[in-house]
Amino acid sequence: MKELLVGSAFFVGHKLLTALAQLFVVATLVFSIMYLMPGDPVLLLLGAESNPTPAAIAAMRAKLGLDQPVLMQYFAWLGNALHFDFGLSVLNSYPVANAIAANFPRTLELGVAAIIIASLIGVPLGIAAALHRGKALDTILTSLATVGISVPVYILGAMFIIVFSLQLGWLPSSGYMDIARNMPEHFRRLTLPAVTLGFGLAASIARMTRSSMLEILNRDFIRALRAKGASESRVIWRHALRNASIPIVTIIGLQLGNLMGGTVLVEAMFNWPGLSTLLVEAVAKRDYPMVQGTVLTIAALFIFINLGVELLYSLLDPRIRQRRA
């Protein structure tokens, strides 16, 4: 027992350290990229339309600390980042951490909604395809799934907008409604972007569900259950599905990257004011602290969710469990 605990602790600890190391590398990379980029936020801040003098530009640069040696800036930034202080946005002197805190829940909401929708669509369709294997339904669903993972997210979005917004007028095509101002409208606005984002994921889940269901349905213990006379629905729902859930969780973990990448385009397409929107704008406006803070947040999210999935996976997988027992 003691060995088990120590073993687990080592396992988790090792993974955690790796994650932190990865985060550190990302942070350094991000910091260096931004400082090598051409373009200057200072002019934007001063309103270049009104011809700032070189003196005014230099003064502003000094005020923002942009004239310090790069290494000093790096360590200062790193130190602050450790307690979630990402500095002030170069553009409006507003704490970056606050902006991220405001936008992050909206991206999270979009992502979670997408995952829920994807699971609700993907799992049943995958099961249906598995149960009707080889027949017309299977072919249709499999083809649909292949389409789903191939079509880029912004094309899907454009098609949905044309059909559901412009032609049918059922759903609004963009804009964010504050949940406090109008809750039903808020969810109405969430629908198209979440479905667009979740579509590709649904396709992957469907494919994965189908293949793992097929594999499990052929296994001996299922046959044994059937021989014992267990009802078909009991076989499917209780046993096969439970065993298929592991790969599904894995898929979600694997597709996380795609999901996050997808938010960049979906947020742009539907003007959903999330974290990715913040990033794209910050890159365009050379808002160094904002870019660093946002990328670091996204990377941290990513790395730690992956970590969570890995740990969850090791917990769920009976083979690993058996090995330990």
Partner: protein
Amino acid sequence: MAGLFHGHPTVMASAIILLLVLVAALFGPLLAPYDPYQINHLAVNQAGSAAHVLGTDEFGRDILSRLLYGIRPTVTVAVGATVIAAVLGTILGIIGAYGYGWAGALIMRGIDVLLAFPPILLALLAVGFWPSGIFTLMVVIGIVYVPHFGRVAHSATLQVIRQEFVQAEQAIGSRPLRVVFTAILPNILSPLVVQATLTVAAAILLESGLSFLGLGIVPPEPSWGQMIGTARGYLNLNPMYVVWPSLCLALTVLAINVIGDSLRDLLDPRLRQ
């Protein structure tokens, strides 16, 4: 090769689509009915007609011609990026597999980090570096996919290295480079080819995504992604403007994915032997 197509109509169809794309890429300028840069300010935003089969865009330019010309930058970027990713990734992967102990492990760790990151985010940061254009996109997207090739090359090389004939070569003292070229490369080619097809598709998607965001191919040069991004503003006036490039892009990527899937099915069992 015939086994690839026989009895698989979808694969057949995909191959035909890709062939068409290739033909268009090579002969586009000859096939296009109009000059894709020709502005006709009296015929803007028109729907399909006899004169302009797919309609005109906001500058009165022929959409069909722009689609045909738009293949080139997309294909150039995709293929170029894949080549860059393949070469660099394979080199790194082989080095990593060959060991040199912790140096190899460090390289693979570094690759892991980049692999974790959504490609579009990496690309977003990097396109700010250089002036936009085909070359920048090729390099940026290529670098983004280096880790993917690295991983594949690494694990494939690890498998091959253990095999007897490689051990034999090393035993007789052949120079490492020779071993790589004669023994390793030919045997890791299969998974690399599969990865290449996937990368081409992904590169097309990434380039069009960047162009959609306005960070890719610069107008007035046409590119499918950029046309889709622009068409977004004209959904009211000319909805088909967005449909045509979308259809082309989706079909092409779909075709590549189908072929890639089949290739993987075909090649993988052989590797397991």
